[in-house]
């Protein structure tokens, strides 16, 4: 059981965004409970692969992210953990960054879908080969979409008086 708890904590450590780090223990406990319920249903005859643990940790983390977002929307109150994370960094830079983030999304909306997909994936961390794999196109085509999309993004941000 201790070994399973350790694996769960490791999985949650990978699933937790920085602003939820202080919630990591609670999330790990919830994941562990879900796994124990599963073991109970199967009379302990099941094992958990690493991918299953990661998916379970991701699922519970997503629930927490969404719960906090809904609460923020309903109450109109700022999330304390998000605020703490921002104030730990440079607050001015964080505010600028958030406003840039909003404008990037507005610019994305103006692009044709193939470019929008490529730029979105690129801004989420995918390099050209991964963009090509995910969009099921050649690297050349992905590169082309990305090049044109990023140019559109630059023009759009410049038009709003913004630059990264």
């Amino acid at each position: 059981m201790e070994a399973l708890a350790r694996r769960v904590r490791r999985a949650v450590g990978r699933s937790c965004p920085p602003y939820l780090v202080s919630q990591a223990d609670d999330i790990a406990q919830e994941v562990l409970l879900q796994l124990l319920r599963k073991l109970d249903r199967t009379e302990g005859k099941t094992g958990f692969s690493s991918m299953y643990l990661l998916k379970a940790a991701h699922g519970v983390t997503v629930d927490e992210i969404r719960r906090r977002s809904r609460r923020r929307e309903q109450t109109g109150m700022e999330d304390e953990m998000l605020r703490n994370q921002s104030s730990a960094a440079d607050p001015e830079r964080s505010a600028l960054s958030r406003s840039l983030g909003r404008e990037i999304r507005r610019c994305l909306e103006t692009m044709v879908p193939p470019r929008r997909e490529a730029v979105t994936l690129h801004l989420l961390g995918c390099a050209v080969p991964e963009v090509a794999t995910r969009l099921r196109c050649s690297e050349k085509s992905a590169d082309n979409r990305l090049y044109r999309g990023m140019k559109n993004l630059r023009d759009c941000l410049t038009g709003k008086g913004l630059r990264p």
Binding site: R14, S15, P17, T42, K45, T46, G47, M51, Y52, L54, K55, A57, H58, G59, T61, V62, I65, R66, R68, S69, R72, E73, L82, S86, S94, S97, R98, L100, G101, R102, I104, R105, L108, E109, P113, R116, E117, V119, T120, L121, H122, L123, L124, G125, C126, A127, V128, P129, E130, T133, R134, L135, R136, L146, Y147, M150, K151, L153, R163, P164
Partner: protein, 231 residues
């Protein structure tokens, strides 16, 4: 010429990752769909819908990014930039060269190992290796089977070996557990395979006559009613 310098792309990425998570109007995909998209498991049309949603939803972007980083952390580019110029040419070459060198080395090691094993162990190789701590191997015929002829087969152990087997579906719901099989095969009754099940995950534990126990990896068998039944 590139639209943005590498450090500007990094800044754009940072701006998106620092956004407050908020959901786009019109509802969000569920967490399983986001996980499957990040894992590359969705069909192209569904995946496209998800990616277009990510373009306008900061909450789902966060969820998708976390899933991607969890599924393949080694794939995350450290500098998060697209290679350019001669660096890109080198990386293109590297993409070909590195696997080619690795494959050559693997083939070399494999051939040497096979030669040594053949030299030292003339009897059937698979289970002799298992006795030395190797793996139980599934029969290739179990890769894809029809629901009405779902025979799970694996490599045989020495005379007198007994096998336990556990089979589950994709949600880890147990379909069947059997103990004490004397032959290295098991026919999974069709009534135990729900209609919605397209994959069966199964694992074998072999109890050798000398008292040792060997557990296999988890094998996957695809259920396809169009697949030919095993004889």
């Amino acid at each position: 010429m590139k639209a943005f310098a590498d450090e500007d792309v990094a800044r754009l990425r940072e701006a998106l990752s620092e956004e407050e998570p908020w959901c786009a109007p019109g509802g969000c995909p569920n967490k399983e769909e986001l996980w499957e998209s990040a894992a590359g498991e969705l069909d192209p049309t569904e995946n496209e819908t998800i990616i277009l949603h990510l373009a306008r939803c900061s909450e789902c972007s966060l969820v998708w990014r976390l899933a991607r980083e969890m599924i393949a952390p080694d794939r995350i580019p450290s500098s998060s930039v697209t290679p350019t110029g001669h660096r890109r040419r080198w990386q293109s070459w590297r993409r070909v060269l590195v696997p080619a060198i690795a494959a050559t080395m693997l083939i070399g090691v494999g051939l040497s190992t096979a030669w040594l094993l053949r030299k030292n162990a003339p009897s059937p190789p698979v289970f002799r290796r298992q006795q030395d701590g190797g793996k139980i191997l599934p029969s290739p015929r179990t890769h894809e089977v029809p629901r009405t002829g779902c025979r799970l087969e694996w490599s045989a152990g020495p005379q007198g070996t007994r096998y336990d087997l556990i089979a589950t579906d994709g949600a880890l719901e147990i379909l069947s557990t059997v103990k004490g099989l004397t032959r290295p095969e098991y026919d999974l009754p069709p009534e135990m395979i729900p209609i919605s099940t397209t994959e069966v995950f199964w694992r074998v534990t072999a109890h050798l006559p000398d008292g040792r126990t060997i557990s296999s990896d988890t094998f996957t068998t695809m259920i396809d009613d169009a697949a030919p039944a095993q004889e």
